[in-house]
């Protein structure tokens, strides 16, 4: 950790995992959906389910869904802003079993254009977060760096096509993870980059034959 990590960040209290981390999970979820949702079913597991009101986890999650950052002073009033802004929401307790991280949330989000997405993520300590599942598909997304998320058909050479497109655009890849349901089936790539990826590059990747969808997820740290 460097000096800025230790003397910071500026955040709304009371808990880096239950408040600041919750905002970041909301931010990531909205980013994965492709914008602010109009409808959100928010399912809380473990410690999140037990202590969400005392830590303001509920307000922090809504704040993130509305695109606010962890130091936004409106966070304690996020419910009011959500209602005024036309975001319909509900909180539910769920049990994801012993294997799930104690601070886990499962978002079921609908966007203004009608697209629907289920996103599961955990606040893993010190404000660090991890999205672990998108629409039932396993991923690993931390929000530390800007990232590209693809859904594609598992085919020979598809990774080379995507990475060479990024290389030609001068984007450096920091980390990369691959997931697939089965050989030749649906697969996914999470590529964390050192810089934001411009829309025209995303369009190029999206136009590749094997790519079903490509999304850009901004950094939330």
């Amino acid at each position: 950790m460097n000096l800025i990590d230790i003397i910071g960040p500026v955040m709304i209290g009371p808990s880096s995992s239950h408040t600041a981390g919750a905002v970041r999970l909301g931010l990531l979820a909205a980013s994965i959906l492709g914008g602010q949702p109009v409808q959100a079913e928010i399912n809380l597991h473990g410690s999140f389910a037990e202590t969400y009101q005392g830590h303001g986890t509920d307000m922090a999650l809504l704040a993130g869904l509305m695109g606010w950052t962890p130091d936004d002073e409106r966070i304690p009033e996020a419910e009011k802003y959500a209602k005024e802004g036309g975001l319909t929401y509900s909180f539910k307790k769920i049990d994801l079993g012993n294997m799930a991280h104690p601070n886990t949330v499962l978002f079921k989000l609908t966007s203004a254009s009608g697209s629907y997405c289920e996103i599961m993520g955990s606040s893993v300590g010190g404000g660090q977060v991890k999205v672990t599942e998108i629409d039932g598909f396993p991923v690993e997304l931390t929000g530390r760096l800007p990232a590209i998320l693809t859904v594609h058909i598992d085919t020979r050479g598809v990774i080379a096509l995507v990475t060479s497109t990024l290389a030609n655009a001068g984007v450096n890849i920091a980390t990369m993870r691959l997931f697939r349901s089965n050989k030749g089936g649906m697969a996914s790539m999470v590529i964390e980059c050192d810089e934001a990826v411009p829309q025209e590059i995303l369009n190029l990747i999206g136009a590749l034959q094997q790519i079903e969808s490509v999304r850009f997820i901004a950094s939330v740290l």
Partner: protein
């Protein structure tokens, strides 16, 4: 090649060898690390101090937490100190350090804005010590900003050798580390030597070793807010001893390593899980039961 661990002893030796003050040495170090100018580094620290000052102000308005469990104590302390029959046990510097530290703890619990330095739960200790010394020792904003670089650098060593998280090392790693950071910074800000900064850090860990993390109902309120006040006092005590020329038989790095080893041997129940300590007293359990029932009706 194995990466060498950060060492406070090493920095102290190097600063002494180059006849640099520790704050000067650490500012150079962090400028290189962050690839920024001294001006930018200190400006960033000033920004953090401004947020801390606002947190103190908000806490002192007497805010209560959302759970209703805590709040208003820092304000109560200020009012008591102004009362006619007040008996001062601490003296002004120590009293103000406690007041400001608890004010930030109450601001944090009430969902106010804080600097998580080193963490949200221990965010009161540094402002407590810094703003009391600013007021009573006439320290300039620049001295405070340089002091914050010293505090943060001590935190970097602790984060690498041990941990700053209550969930990993107990409260000794969280409020205890904050106290060690504040104590070292206080020595540096008051003109102590690099060696004395290390001594203050070591003394804090000797005095708070074993402190467990046992929040009632898992909330950052009881006993966290008062622990911020208590650890601000520990910081002043350690700084006082070090500045008086008292040495520590155990050096700073070894004291930090001892804190880690104690943290590792603490059971999970005493590391932020509300499974032991104050959190499982009958009073705490009864309150938590009622609170959770209310939260989920």
């Amino acid at each position: 090649m194995k990466k060498e661990m950060l060492s406070l002893n090493g920095w102290i030796d190097e600063a002494t060898r180059w006849q640099q003050s520790l704050d000067e040495f650490l500012i150079d170090y962090n400028m290189r690390e962050l690839e920024c100018s001294e001006e930018d580094l200190l400006a960033k620290m000033q920004d953090m101090l401004k947020v801390m000052e606002k947190s103190v102000e908000y806490g002192l308005t007497g805010v209560r937490s959302h759970s209703g469990l805590t709040g208003g104590d820092s304000k109560r302390l200020v009012e008591a100190a102004m009362g006619e029959h007040f008996v001062s046990l601490l003296g002004e510097k120590a009293m103000d350090a406690v007041i400001y530290a608890m004010a930030v703890g109450e601001c944090n619990a009430a969902m106010g804005r804080i600097v998580a330095a080193p963490t949200a739960g221990a965010s009161g200790v540094l402002p407590g010590v810094f703003f009391s010394l600013k007021k009573h020792c006439q320290l300039s904003d620049e001295v405070l900003a340089r002091g914050l670089v010293v505090a943060g650098s001590i935190g970097m060593v602790i984060a690498e050798r041990a941990s700053l998280a209550g969930a990993t090392g107990g409260c000794q790693a969280e409020c205890g580390s904050a106290a060690a950071m504040a104590a070292g910074a206080a020595v540096a800000m008051l003109g102590g030597s690099a060696q004395q900064v290390g001594t203050a850090v070591a003394i804090v860990f000797k005095n708070i070793l074993g402190l467990v993390c046992d929040p009632v109902a898992g909330l950052v309120e009881v006993p966290c807010i008062k622990r911020n006040g208590a650890c601000a006092l520990q910081a002043l005590l350690a700084a006082q001893l070090a500045l008086s020329g008292i040495s520590s038989f155990i050096n700073a790095d070894e004291a930090i390593d001892a804190m880690k080893s104690v943290g590792d041997s603490l059971p999970c129940a005493l590391k932020e899980t509300a499974g032991g300590g104050m959190a499982t007293t009958p009073t705490a359990l009864a309150w938590a039961k009622q609170y959770f029932a209310g939260a989920h009706k």
